[in-house]
Symmetry: C2
Subunit: 349 residues, 2 copies
């Protein structure tokens, strides 16, 4: 790295309210009121002050405001490191949507990645320890103990994409249960009676809920839950593992995520099953895997926009009134019909 001292440091003088006040021979209070659209300034004066501020490139000193109001006007987004290690994490797009949304509400978003060792040692986020944030959105499940520790903090907290049983912390979650119920119903309506589920049903609460919604649809239609049709796709730590097709094949599968559906379809094709002619497949997430697959996969879009919008509104409201609680809010997904599902005509393969 070669360092050159060619450029002069830019000499843009920071202007403050005092300077503007002096220009118009008024008090700082008046300038403050004018710039913040508060009562107590004449319309004409207010306009002149605003215009001059613009002209001089005045920028509010947020630190001074923060010191007084005890608000940072920042909201933290905490994501465990393990969720951002894959380049395809859908938490990325969620967090960028949140950040965008928060901006429209007058907040900035500070993203912090929680390292595994800090999670284990129950170290609170830096952004909290330095009082840089007025509220915290936790994106993705964390260790139980860590969450307990988090719940002792004195700023509003909002969980996103997970919830904690027996806790009354506020959560925004995808309505996995109902979405899965609906999409399984769709298969049943198309005439499918032997339907499998691919996913480790004891791995995460979201997979479990998807399984239970699937099961509910079976129950309601008096269809059997065949244990051979429940195929695990990952180990206890969530790492995807290889799996085999059942020997007695169903005519349709509900896969717990697109990536697993993608793999499943590959296996089906290798086993000379035609998708969707012989076997239909549906899955969740509307991720890239659902569109690069052949055929493209019918999937549930998680409705990120709505999740983000709701989450942003709630955290802001909670900051303004810390007494508010919302409990668990479920956001229903949207089914996106593609080419991996088909009406079941015959009775057997």
């Amino acid at each position: 790295m070669s360092k050159k001292d060619i450029r002069e440091p830019k000499k843009r003088i920071e202007v403050n309210m005092k300077q503007i006040a002096e220009i118009f021979d008024v008090s700082i209070v008046t300038v403050s009121k004018a710039l913040n659209d508060k009562d107590g300034v004449g319309d004409e004066l207010r306009e002149k002050i605003k215009q001059k501020a613009e002209e001089l490139g005045y920028r509010v000193n947020i630190a001074a405001r923060s010191l007084k109001t005890r608000k940072s006007y920042n909201i933290g987004i905490l994501i465990a490191n393990r969720y951002v290690e894959s380049q395809e994490s859908y938490y990325f797009s969620i967090s960028s949507e949140i950040v965008k949304r928060l901006n429209t509400e007058g907040y900035s978003g500070i993203i912090e990645i929680l390292l595994s060792e800090d999670e284990e040692r129950l170290i609170l986020p830096n952004m909290y320890n330095e009082q840089k944030v007025d509220g915290l959105i936790v994106l993705g499940q964390l260790e139980e103990d860590y969450l307990k520790k988090l719940e002792t903090i004195d700023i509003p907290l909002l969980y996103m994409d997970f919830y904690v049983s027996f806790s009354n912390a506020d959560s925004i979650v995808i309505d996995n249960f109902f979405s899965s119920y609906e999409v399984t119903h769709l298969l049943i309506e198309k005439g499918h009676e032997r339907i499998g589920f691919v996913g480790n049903i004891s791995s995460t609460s979201s997979i479990q809920d998807r399984f239970l919604g699937f099961y509910k649809a079976l129950l309601e239609n008096h269809l059997p839950l065949n244990n051979d049709y429940i195929i695990s796709d990952r180990d206890g730590l969530g790492k995807l593992i290889d799996f085999n097709l059942p020997s007695n094949m169903p005519t349709a599968f509900v896969a717990n995520c697109d990536q697993t559906a993608y793999k499943l379809i590959k296996k089906l094709k290798e086993g000379n099953y035609k998708v969707p002619e012989e076997v239909s497949v549906v899955s969740f997430d509307n991720s890239i895997f659902s569109t690069i697959s052949e055929p493209q996969i019918t999937t549930i879009d998680n409705n990120i926009k709505q999740m983000v919008e709701t989450a942003s509104k709630i955290i802001v409201k909670k900051i303004k009134n810390p007494k508010l609680t919302y409990g668990r809010i479920f956001i229903k997904g949207k089914t996106i019909i593609r080419d991996s599902t088909k009406i079941r005509l015959g009775n057997n393969l």
Copy 2:
């Protein structure tokens, strides 16, 4: 949204330096020095103060410190909206790596998405207008006029993944030119003489540089640049378009990115060309497209870790000493050999 007022607001009293000072009957100055590891406090007293602070859950009031030191201890990361609209944007992993890295340097990262209309209307980022950041990393090329406007601001600026010709702003960029040169060389060493390039060479500077590195390797080896072998893969706005294989086929292709290589391989297979037996393919980015392709694609990994590390160090140094300039820093990629490249044996297809 149902609101319930069940929970009492948490009553954790915020403790400040004054309170700690009173406990030990010392001055606030002493507490400040102790907690910040500054000279002027006895070792024993320092330890006692630190311990008590920990015990009481003392958190520094960053706003107060900021007001005094004129530093926010935040660094902004600005990304144009168009770069985060695709779920697979590799700017996501870059930004989360930056955020992680900044944390180890004592900074928080504020991410802001620059909306197209703000870019057009030359609206500076909120985080800048509110003095929330000490420096700004711009991730991905922005409109020329916007960059000009940005360069008038009074905080350190660092461009990442692009540079501006005729500007002496500091940039961290992938060494597209040399990486491309190297990988083309690799093909030539394997005996390939007719090599094509897939990419719109007037679309972005990075594609252009990749093309020029490719061309340099041809020149050095006295190989012809066949115009029919240069295939555009996107329109002027960067949107991927369909393309056709040349009638007279090369034995190898350098594709400007994995996604295009993925498409190319699909087309080759459809045209009954075997990859890599008949046609070799290399590309750039080491993205998901390089591993989901069959065969998996030999690609250049952009060495994000090193880019991020360098970028973080530089912006922090520039904040501490605004006079420092670094110019353009090139980070070389790492070639990842996979299955899409093969020694060329015969002379013709």
